[in-house]
Symmetry: C2
Subunit: 496 residues, 2 copies
């Protein structure tokens, strides 16, 4: 983008669009803060001031930022701008999202910016790990803000996965390029084209989920807060016991359904709505369904055969908690760490999986496992027939070599990040299970880890402050699919 | 290979060479059993009978097998035969190697074929995990046999890594093809060409190591047993306390040196011996040296700064135990699981690394990490410059795409095997650290795991029998570089 003169713009022109877009997002964040302010004003909680002040600060900064970086955006973003935008926007929004928490009257958060920021990052990345003990008695404004951050983070990541990552070619996401986005090197945000449709579907799912929750067991406020964090597969609850707080089988099945709905590619809904019935043949979706079914049967059988639960309860508990972990939501209706070591191992493994790409789920994503399986197959065939040619097909299309390479490298990089994060957590003298599960819970945006401290019945409050910052980095790293964050540490990025 | 008529040969012709070669190896094994028989006869231990009978059984079976499968080997092996040979030979030898242990008078092994087989597999794969409690009082024949199995396994795997794996193109090993082995589809065992040289070097290193041990601290028998399991980076000791039994700094430094020597590519020694000084520029070796130096400094600094040891002791302890784990030997001079969680995490990570290819070390091997780093670099560059071409160079040569693909798939497959093995171990209700470390200790052929049961101060005796068989599979899987074993589970292997 050539330099142009805009009155009042002072930032270096090549980073202007990045900060301008970030500023616009902050404007939306400032507006969103008025909701918890309103709730607190209605319920008479003094925190309405914190949210109002937070909204004011955010609005002022956002206005200054957008003004200072005014530029024409119609030309789209360059590759580097698009790379820079994702981590800059995500980090900035998380920082501002933490402000009302930090200046609130709520003792769990106001004492520590670390805790406020952790909660904000955990929200925005739809992770759902919490540092709050005593959610049941927390002020409604705080609870709503946490849920709202998750909901905004959920729709945000769908936007990134649809418009930015495919164009950047991150971790095999070039597979989801559409013809229009493939033509030029400029990353044209395709969000607008389909944004309205996706947002409407997201809102509709949230409303449906909230109504169902309300009809079955919850108060309107609980239903709202949980609907926001269910469809975004995020997992913040209004109770320390998470969904186990409500002793309603119907509620748990409804939550299972809507967590699953959040893990599907949102473009799928749009295509179905447009009458494209062949969208139902999406191989990612059926792989996810098959995987979930298989694991749920195993877990339910285990719970029944070990005499822990009746068949019906076992099925409900298995379905809820398996879907919660695989979709990276992180709700719990049971402390599955008490189901024996096999289940700990199984749930640990499930934390890596994640949902479909273009959904609100974190994790490594189903399509990457499918590509990996194709790659492994062809490798074994090549060993047997060194002169053979083995076309690798995915979803009816030939897999280009660069997609396979990106996916396989993504796999390796995921394990490198996971291992590094685990060892780094152990440097705080945390035990192996806590460290390893915290690492993957952050990286995959699941939320709760395993073990007595951060397990589904625990929380992250007791961890050392520095380790919380580390996990914040891990959450952002995983949410933005590794490459978009790590590339900033690559010297070549900043050259030329 | 066309069918030929050999009198007395009855096995199907296409598998004859596989079993014929296995039979020949068994003949060598039968001969090796006479050594512990001799030692036991000298020391008056009744186990001389067990070894003599074991030798007789092995000899009889080997003779019958070689006769039944007589064939001309000069034509070399087909790809499938070479793939079949490695797991068949390794498993068969381990089975026969277990016979004298099982029929011995030694109470730790004679009661359980599981234990005898575990010890034999652990020996032959140069893993060094033991089920024996009370090694200090174990009969010398048993101790020698364990050490001999490791020594034979060590030279065996060098042979496989030099002659078979490059031709098969397993996990990027095609990088180490020489011109002569690349020309035809037939896998011509190149062992013979350079076998004599390698064996001489292996023997010379063992003798040097044993003499040094003897001069410094050990009895001749102890020196022999440890020399056999040091140069093979295997790790069986004659004491429950491993090398901590001898309170001699000199001994520990000597062991460190010879463990390191076993982790270098043995072809390197041959080339140096032939006066090729450019062999010293081997990038694998320098990468390994750099890695070891860096980690040793970190660990020594940690031990000093946390007030655990004086600087000199810290350096010795760090060097010994880090080299022991990275070279996948598995000796210990300290229970490093007591050095704090950071060190547990670090040692856990080190268990994946391994030494150079063409050495006796297990693990993922240094060159694969180097290739991975090149691959990651080029992936990041490609993200920044989508139209750029980034040649990936390794050791001065352009890395072919199929090598990179194989290496990256090897990485992913390693983690898949590791995770599966971990969850399978947890099915026996073993805790996470024990399960995960047992999985990688087996797969990387390190030996001891982490945690209170199987840590450097513990052993594998208390594990459930079924889990021992699982670990035996893991040890063979890792030792034979995954693909050679896993391909047997691939239906296409058995077709046509």
């Amino acid at each position: 983008m050539r330099e142009r003169s805009y009155s009042g713009a002072w930032a270096p022109p090549h980073i202007r669009p990045v900060f301008h877009l970030t500023g616009r997002m902050l404007l939306a964040l400032a507006a969103a803060m008025l909701l918890p302010a309103g709730i607190d004003a209605l319920t008479g909680d003094p925190d309405w001031r914190a949210f109002l002040i937070g909204s004011g600060i955010t609005f002022a900064c956002a206005a200054a930022l957008t003004r200072a970086t005014r530029c024409r955006l119609s030309g789209g973003l360059t590759l580097r701008q698009a790379f820079l935008l994702t981590p800059v926007a995500w980090t900035t929004i998380a920082l501002f999202g933490a402000i009302p928490l930090y200046i609130s009257d709520y003792s769990q958060l106001r004492d520590s910016f670390t805790n406020a920021f952790f909660e904000s990052v955990s929200g925005l990345t739809t992770t759902g790990a919490t540092v709050i003990v005593g959610l049941d008695d927390a002020p409604q404004g705080i609870l709503l803000w946490r849920a709202l951050l998750q909901w905004l983070g959920g729709i945000g990541i769908i936007g990134v996965a649809i418009s930015i990552l495919p164009a950047l070619g991150v971790g095999g996401m070039q597979l989801f390029r559409t013809e229009s986005s493939d033509r030029s090197e400029k990353v044209m945000p395709r969000v607008r084209e389909i944004a309205t449709g996706i947002v409407l579907i997201y809102v509709a799912l949230t409303v449906a989920c909230g109504l169902a929750y309300w009809l079955v067991a919850m108060t309107p406020f609980e239903a709202l807060a949980h609907a926001l964090s269910t469809v975004s597969t995020a997992g913040f609850s209004t109770s320390d016991s998470s969904m186990a707080r409500w002793d309603s089988a119907a509620l748990h099945w409804i939550a299972t359904l809507f967590m699953f709905s959040g893990a599907l590619p949102f473009v799928l809904y749009l295509r179905l709505f447009q009458g494209q019935r062949e969208a139902l043949r999406d191989s990612q979706v059926w792989f996810l369904v098959g995987l979930l079914a298989a694991v749920i049967v195993i877990v339910a059988a285990w719970l029944t055969l070990t005499g822990r639960h009746s068949a019906a309860d076992a099925l409900r508990l298995a379905a809820f908690n398996v879907v919660s972990v695989v979709t990276t939501t992180g709700y719990a209706t049971a402390d599955y760490t008490l189901w024996g070591n096999l289940m700990i191992g199984l749930f640990f493994g499930l934390m890596f999986v994640g949902g479909c790409t273009g959904s609100t789920s974190g994790g490594m994503k189903i399509f990457r496992f499918q590509v990996m399986i194709r790659m492994l197959e062809s490798q074994f065939l090549r060993l047997l027939y060194p002169r053979g040619v083995f076309p690798r097909v995915y979803a009816g299309r030939l897999l280009p070599d660069d997609v396979i390479g990106s996916v396989v490298v993504f796999f390796s990089l995921y394990f490198v990040c996971y291992s590094t994060l685990t060892v780094a957590m152990m440097a705080f003298d945390l035990d192996f299970l806590t460290s390893a599960s915290a690492a993957v819970a952050a990286l995959s945006n699941v939320g709760p880890g395993l073990g007595p401290i951060i397990g589904p019945a625990g929380n992250f409050a007791a961890l050392p402050d520095a380790s919380k910052w580390l996990l914040c980095f891990g959450m952002l790293l995983g949410r933005l699919e590794l490459f978009t964050v790590l590339i900033l540490f690559f010297p070549q990025f900043w050259r030329g």
